[in-house]
């Protein structure tokens, strides 16, 4: 796992929150919701394989 991933997730979080705020301010709440959802899906796309790898490692470690 690369440490850069943490910075990327943080940057995506900040950008998504700024974009959501701008869209909400301009009255486009549905677009703000879609942007938040897209950001969440993107971060899950990065994080889920790593979590899977973690569980596989734990299984191997305890020979489960």
């Amino acid at each position: 796992m690369d440490v850069n991933l943490i910075f990327k997730i943080a940057a995506v979080g900040i950008l998504v929150s700024v974009i959501s705020q701008i869209l909400k301010q301009s009255g486009r709440e549905e677009h703000a919701f879609l942007v938040s959802l897209a950001g969440l899906l993107l971060v899950l796309f990065w994080v889920v394989p790593i979590i899977y790898e973690l569980f596989e490692t734990i299984k191997k470690l305890f020979m489960l």
Partner: protein, 173 residues
């Protein structure tokens, strides 16, 4: 180094796209003002010169810019020659053919302008002038609404485009 250059290009191009979209919003408002001016010209021809419809359309066509000159010219031809088609059909067809896609007007604007076509060619002078006045009034309301929103919309487009560029840059890192 190449990566950094690529990221800069991505961010710059998304900012440029945002600026272009913002500019299109301003140009749409100017286009609506121009359409209002054309119909005021037409109204003037009908009211003060007592011009026949074909002459009024021809007079506006001579002073209008591309592609509006084609629309009014076709309308003038349609009224002169013994055309079997209704004026409204010709108006809507010509507007759809020459204006949609060739100007900064969006679909809603074009549909609103096509509605005036339904009142052309079959009413007396007074009714015609009243209908043009009503159309111009509706256009003025639309223009004032859009002018109120244009600065905010341009800012939103520019900010969003910069954020989107940064977002894509982070994805590519």
């Amino acid at each position: 180094m190449i990566k950094v250059a690529g990221l800069i290009i991505v961010i710059a191009s998304s900012i440029f796209a945002g600026c272009v979209l913002g500019n299109n919003v301003k140009l749409r408002v100017e286009e609506l003002i121009y359409v209002k001016k054309l119909f005021l010209m037409f109204r003037g021809e009908v009211e003060y010169k007592n011009a026949m419809l074909s002459d009024a359309f021809q007079a506006v066509a001579l002073r209008a810019k591309v592609p509006y000159d084609k629309v009014f010219s076709e309308l003038s031809n349609a009224t002169e020659i013994n055309c079997t088609e209704a004026m409204s059909t010709v108006f809507k067809r010509e507007f759809e053919k020459n204006i949609a896609g060739n100007t900064y007007l969006n679909r809603d604007d074009i549909e609103k302008i096509k509605e005036i076509g339904d009142t052309l060619g079959y009413q007396n002078r007074t009714m015609q002038l009243s209908n043009i006045d009503l159309f111009v009034e509706r256009l003025e309301l639309l223009i004032s609404d859009e002018q109120g929103k244009v600065n905010d919309t341009v800012k939103v487009y520019r900010t969003l485009s910069m954020m989107t560029g940064l977002f894509i840059a982070i994805l590519l890192l």
